[in-house]
C-alpha cells in the first residue's frame, strides 16, 4: 500500500521503505544481539559477524547503498561452508547458533522494507535467546534483556518512523515493564517438566575444574588457587561448627608411586544405606555446581539417599549420572559410631598395602614408632605429635619432591600443603600395619551473612585421613589440623603465611569489597536458586508453601488462566482510563451541550459556540435568552482575558438549571 503525504500538520507518513534512522536502529539491535555471545562463541564466528555488521554500519554511516546482491549470495554460501567445516554438520545446537548468527549479519546487509525489519528483529531476539544454551548467569540475562529492549525500540522506530531516540527507548521500555507481571505469573505457574524432552546434546557441558579421582603432591594446592564455587549449602536449623564441616568427596585407597587413586574395590555402591539410619544432626540442602563427575558432597554420614544417588562402599555419596547441570539435593547427616567395624578383609588388606619399594626412611620411622606404641591409637597420637613438634610449615608453595616424596617431605623439606600431610600420615600408618586411607573433599566454607548460605569454593578443597580401629571402625584423623589448627577452624586465608598467593576472593584486605562481594554472591545465588534452578521440585515446594497441595499441571493451569485473566482485566482498565477535560469552563459548557444533544440539537464539530447558540436560539425561541447568556459567559471565560471566578460560578449555576 502506498501512503499519501497530505497537508494536515500532524499527518505522519509511514512508508514501506525504511528510513536512515530506522536502519540505524536495526544495526544497533543486531549489534546488541551479538554482545552476550562474546566469549561464548568461537572467535572466527564472532569476527565474521562483526565484519558483516561493520560493513553495513559503514555503508549506513556514509549514506551508501547496501552491498550488491551477488556478493551477499556468495557470502551466504561461504558462511554455510564455514559452518560445515567447523562443525562437520549444520544440524545440532552449536552449528545452529552459528548459522543464526551469520545469517542475521547477512540479512542486515539486505534489509530495506518494514517487513525485513520485522524479520531482522525476530532474528536478533532468537540469537539473544541462543545465548542461554551456553550460559545462564545473571549478567547474561541482564545483557539479554538489554538486547530485547533495543530490539523493541527498533520495532517502535520501524512502525512509527517520526519519533526520536529517547521516545523509542521510553516506549519500548514501557512495553517491557508492562510485560514483567505477565512474565512473573507465567514463570512461576507454567508447569515444569523434570526431564528434558529429547535429551541434552553431548556438547551441552564442557569439563570444569574440581576434585579428581586421584591425587599427587601439589594437586590440591593447585585447586586451592581457584576461587570458583564448588557448591553452596544451606542448613535447615543450626549450622555445625566450622571445624566439623568435612564435606566428604572421593576416598583414595590405592597408592601407585606418588599417586593416590580411587580403589576399584570400593566403587561398588549401595542403593540403600548399608547402616541403620539415625536421627539427623544436620539437615541441609546442597546446590552443586556442575563438575562433570558423579560425586555428590555430604557431611559424614548421610542418613538418607537423595533421589538418583547411591552410597559407595567407602561412604561417598554418588550420583547415578554425571553432574553436568547445577544440581540441588537435600541430605541429612549424623555420625555413625563403629561404622566399618565389620569391614571385609579385602578392604582392610587394600588399605594396608604399600608399594614394595620406596621411602625407606619413612618405613623405618613407622616401624620404630609402632614398636613404642601399644595400640593403633597410641601410634596415631605419636605421629601427630611428631608433626607438631618438628618444624613443619603449612604452605601453598612447597618445594618439588622427587621419587621418594614421603621421605623427602618428612625428613628434608618439611614444607607442604594438606595433601602432603595426609599422604605422609597414611603412608606411616600403613607402614606400621594400620589400615588407613586418604579422604578428599572440602573443609569449611564461608557463611554469607546476607542470605545464610555457606559457600564452598575450590579453595576449600582439602585432604584428610581415615584410620581403621578394630573396636570402632573408620575414624577421621586430620593431620593438617595438628600442624595448622587455624586452617580447620578459620579457613585457608588465616592459615597461610603472609605473602602467599591467595585467590582474590579470599583476601581479607578490603572489608568493603568483601561486604560487596557477599551481597553480589547472595544475589547470584538467589538468581541460581530461583531462576535457573526453578524446576519441577522447586515449583511443587513453592506451591505447597503458598497453600496449594499436590500442584499438578491442571491446578497450575487453572491458576495460570485465572491470574492471567485478572492481569488482563487490570490492563484493560488501564487502557480505557480517561482523563476528563480539566478546564472547568469546558466541563460546564459540555453539560449544556449534552442536554441539548438529547433534544436533537447537538453541537457540530465545526460549530463554534456563537454559531451554535444562534442555531439553538432559532430552533427553540424559549431557550434563546438563557442560551445567549450561557454562550457569552462561556466564550468570555474560555477565550477572553483573565476569567474570574464569579463568572464561572454563574455559568455553572446556569448549566445546572438549564432545561431544554
Amino acid at each position: 500500500m502506498k501512503w499519501l503525504r497530505l497537508r494536515t500538520a500532524s499527518a505522519a507518513v509511514p512508508s514501506e521503505a525504511l528510513t536512515r534512522p530506522q536502519l540505524g536502529w536495526l544495526i544497533a539491535a543486531s549489534a546488541a544481539a551479538y554482545a552476550p555471545h562474546i566469549g561464548q562463541q568461537p572467535v572466527w564466528l564472532l569476527s565474521a559477524c562483526l565484519l558483516l555488521l561493520g560493513l553495513r554500519a559503514l555503508l549506513w554511516q556514509q549514506r551508501r547503498p547496501t552491498a550488491p546482491r551477488w556478493l551477499l549470495v556468495a557470502l551466504s554460501v561461504a558462511a554455510l561452508g564455514a559452518v560445515l567445516i567447523a562443525y562437520r554438520q549444520i544440524f545440532g545446537r552449536a552449528p545452529g547458533v552459528a548459522l543464526v548468527a551469520l545469517f542475521l549479519a547477512l540479512k542486515l546487509n539486505e534489509t530495506h522494507s518494514r517487513r525485513d525489519a520485522h524479520v531482522l528483529v525476530q532474528g536478533a531476539l532468537f540469537l539473544t535467546f541462543a545465548t542461554f544454551l551456553t550460559v545462564q548467569g545473571m549478567a547474561t540475562t541482564l545483557l539479554a534483556a538489554l538486547s530485547a529492549w533495543i530490539s523493541l525500540a527498533a520495532l517502535c522506530a520501524a512502525t512509527h518512523g517520526t519519533r526520536g531516540v529517547r521516545d523509542n527507548l521510553l516506549r519500548s521500555g514501557r512495553l517491557l515493564l508492562m510485560a514483567i507481571p505477565a512474565m512473573l505469573v507465567l514463570f512461576v505457574l507454567f508447569p515444569r517438566i523434570s526431564a528434558p524432552l529429547w535429551g541434552l546434546p553431548l556438547d551441552a557441558h564442557a569439563g570444569r575444574s574440581g576434585l579428581s579421582d586421584s591425587m599427587a603432591p601439589g594437586s590440591i594446592a593447585q585447586l586451592s588457587l581457584s576461587d570458583e564455587i564448588a557448591f553452596r549449602a544451606k542448613f535447615d536449623d543450626a549450622q555445625p561448627a566450622q571445624q566439623d564441616l568435612y564435606w566428604r568427596g572421593p576416598v583414595l585407597s590405592q597408592l601407585e608411586g606418588n599417586r593416590w587413586a580411587i580403589s576399584a574395590r570400593t566403587r561398588h555402591s549401595f542403593a540403600a544405606l548399608p547402616y541403620t539410619p539415625r536421627n539427623a544432626q544436620a539437615r541441609y540442602e546442597i546446590t552443586l555446581e556442575p563438575h562433570g563427575k558423579n560425586w555428590l558432597f555430604a557431611l559424614d554420614y548421610p542418613q538418607s539417599l537423595p533421589e538418583g544417588s547411591t552410597l559407595s562402599a567407602d561412604y561417598q555419596l554418588l550420583a547415578r549420572k554425571a553432574v553436568i547441570d547445577r544440581r540441588r539435593y537435600a541430605v541429612e547427616s549424623a555420625p555413625v559410631p563403629g561404622l566399618g567395624r565389620d569391614e571385609p578383609a579385602a578392604i582392610l588388606d587394600e588399605t594396608r598395602a604399600l608399594p614394595r619399594l620406596g621411602n625407606p626412611r619413612a618405613r623405618r620411622f613407622a616401624r620404630e614408632l609402632a614398636a613404642r606404641a601399644d595400640t593403633p591409637r597410641a601410634l596415631v597420637a605419636s605421629v601427630l605429635s611428631n608433626f607438631r613438634e618438628q618444624e613443619f610449615t603449612y604452605t601453598l608453595e612447597p618445594p618439588l619432591l622427587g621419587d621418594d616424596a614421603i621421605d623427602e617431605f618428612l625428613f628434608d623439606t618439611r614444607r607442604g600443603f594438606c595433601e602432603h600431610y595426609a599422604a605422609a600420615f597414611v603412608y606411616l600408618m600403613r607402614a606400621a600395619g594400620v589400615p588407613a586411607r586418604i579422604v578428599t573433599g572440602y573443609q569449611g566454607g564461608e557463611r554469607n551473612p546476607v542470605d545464610g548460605y555457606i559457600v564452598v569454593r575450590q579453595s576449600d578443597a582439602h585432604a584428610w585421613a581415615e584410620v581403621w580401629y578394630a573396636d570402632s571402625g573408620w575414624t577421621r584423623i586430620d593431620p593438617t589440623a595438628a600442624i595448622q589448627p587455624s586452617r580447620i577452624e578459620r579457613g585457608l586465608a588465616q592459615a597461610l603465611p603472609r605473602g602467599e598467593p591467595l585467590p582474590f576472593m579470599l583476601r581479607a584486605d578490603f572489608d568493603m569489597l568483601r561486604a560487596l562481594r557477599f551481597r553480589w554472591d547472595a544475589l547470584a545465588n538467589a538468581y541460581n536458586q530461583w531462576v535457573i534452578g526453578y524446576d519441577a521440585v522447586r515449583q511443587r515446594e513453592l506451591m505447597a508453601r503458598m497453600g496449594m497441595r499436590d500442584a499438578d499441571w491442571q491446578k497450575l493451569a487453572f491458576w495460570l488462566v485465572g491470574l492471567g485473566a485478572l492481569l488482563l482485566a487490570v490492563y484493560t482498565l488501564w487502557a480505557l482510563r480517561q482523563h476528563a477535560p480539566r478546564d472547568p469552563w469546558l466541563i460546564a459548557w459540555r453539560r449544556v451541550t449534552r442536554k441539548l444533544a438529547r433534544r436533537g440539537l447537538a453541537q457540530e464539530a465545526w460549530e463554534g459556540p456563537q454559531a451554535y447558540c444562534e442555531r439553538v436560539a432559532a430552533a427553540r425561541g424559549d431557550l434563546a435568552a438563557a442560551m445567549k447568556q450561557i454562550a457569552a459567559l462561556y466564550c468570555a471565560g474560555r477565550y477572553g482575558p483573565a476569567p474570574d471566578n464569579t463568572a464561572l460560578t454563574e455559568l455553572r449555576r446556569l448549566a445546572r438549571h438549564f432545561k431544554p
Binding site: P181, A182, E604
Partner: protein, 320 residues
C-alpha cells in the same frame, strides 16, 4: 448475509450522531502477520527452554510473550475512545479528486500516534493526534458521479507501537459526504445567444440587475469586485456595492428545454454546468431553467453555487 453479519459484528450504521466515539465494543484487535510470526517465534523458543530446562531462557521467552500481550493493550488503547466527526467538504466536479475531511479528537491526555484512516477505494492517510486536541485529516476519494458522494465508511486502523497488532474500527459520522457537481462539458460549447428583456414571458420579472446605476447598498457576500464602489471604499466608508437597474438589456438564459433533443440527461447537465461556469467567468448575469426548477437570473459566487447545486442534484429524489 455476510453484509448483515458484518453490520452486526462491527456495529456499522450510517449517519451516526457526531462525534462518533470509538468505544471499546467497536474497536477490534487481531495480530498482524508480523504478530503471528512473533507468536511462532516465542513458541519455538519455549520448546527450546523446556527441552534444555533453561531457567533463564524461560524468563526471556515469557518476557517476549508479555511484550506481545502488552502490545495488544497499547495498540487497543491507541485507538479506543477516539472521537471521529465529519467536516464540511468543498464541492468538486465529477472526475476530480474529492477531499473528504474528517476531524479526529483525542479526549485523553496522552497523544495517539499513527492512526491510519481510509475510505473504501481510497488511499490511507496517517495522523497523530496530540493529547486533548483535535486534528483534521483529508481523505482523497475520486468523485465519479454527480450528486452526493457518500463514502461507505471510514476505516480507522493502527499498528502502533510495534507493528505486531492491528486495532481497527469503522465509523460513519453524520454529514460524511461531498457534493459532486456534474462534469463540465469538454470541449466547451459556445454560450447561447442572449435574449432581450421582456422576452420569454416570466423571465422578465427576474430582472434585478442591469446596466443603469441605481444607487448604493452595503456589500454582500457574492458581489463581484466589479460591483464594488471602490471610490466609496477609498473614502473610508464600509464596503458598498453599486446597484444597477436593468433597462431591458439582453440577459442570458441557460435552459434545459432549449438544448438539442439528442442529448441525454447527463449530457445536458454537463453542458449546462459548463455554461454556468463560463457565464460566471465572464461576469455576466444568467438564469437557469431545469424541468422542475427555475433559478432567476443573477450573478456572483453564491448564485453560481446555487445553480451548480441544482444541477448536481437534478432528478435525484429526496436530496436538497
Amino acid at each position: 448475509m455476510r453484509a448483515r453479519f458484518e453490520r452486526w459484528l462491527f456495529r456499522l450504521s450510517k449517519d451516526e450522531a457526531a462525534p462518533v466515539r470509538l468505544n471499546y465494543r467497536r474497536v477490534f484487535v487481531l495480530p498482524t502477520r508480523s504478530g503471528l510470526f512473533w507468536a511462532v517465534g516465542v513458541l519455538v523458543m519455549l520448546v527450546g527452554a523446556i527441552n534444555y530446562n533453561l531457567g533463564a531462557a524461560y524468563i526471556f521467552v515469557f518476557l517476549l510473550a508479555g511484550v506481545g500481550n502488552a502490545a495488544i493493550l497499547h495498540t487497543f488503547r491507541n485507538l479506543v475512545d477516539l472521537e471521529v466527526s465529519a467536516l464540511y467538504n468543498e464541492p468538486v466536479f465529477a472526475g476530480q479528486l474529492a477531499q473528504v475531511r474528517v476531524s479526529l479528537h483525542n479526549p485523553r491526555k496522552d497523544a495517539r500516534h499513527g492512526i491510519r484512516l481510509s475510505l473504501e477505494g481510497s488511499q490511507a492517510v496517517a495522523a497523530d493526534v496530540p493529547g486533548g486536541e483535535s486534528c483534521t485529516v483529508s481523505l482523497p476519494v475520486p468523485a465519479r458521479q454527480r450528486g452526493w458522494l457518500v463514502p461507505n465508511r471510514i476505516t480507522l486502523e493502527t499498528h502502533f507501537p510495534i507493528g505486531l497488532i492491528r486495532a481497527w474500527s469503522y465509523a460513519h459520522p453524520r454529514n460524511l459526504r461531498v457534493l459532486v457537481y456534474p462534469q463540465p462539458e469538454q470541449p466547451p460549447q459556445a454560450l447561447p445567444a442572449e435574449q432581450p428583456a421582456g422576452e420569454a414571458g416570466g423571465h422578465a420579472r427576474s430582472a434585478r440587475a442591469g446596466d443603469d446605476f441605481a444607487g448604493l447598498r452595503p456589500w454582500r457576500r457574492g458581489d463581484t469586485p466589479r460591483q464594488m464602489a471602490w471610490k466609496a471604499v477609498a473614502r473610508g466608508s464600509n464596503p458598498v456595492s453599486k446597484l444597477f437597474e436593468s433597462s431591458g438589456t439582453a440577459r442570458l438564459w441557460l435552459s434545459w428545454a432549449e438544448l438539442p433533443g439528442r442529448l441525454d440527461t447527463e449530457a445536458r447537465l454537463s453542458r449546462l454546468t459548463r455554461w454556468c461556469l463560463d457565464a460566471h467567468a465572464s461576469g455576466r448575469e444568467f438564469g437557469l431553467t431545469l424541468p422542475d426548477l427555475e433559478i432567476e437570473a443573477g450573478s456572483g459566487a453564491q448564485h453560481l453555487e446555487h445553480c451548480l447545486r441544482a444541477l448536481a442534484l437534478h432528478g435525484l429524489e429526496g436530496e436538497a
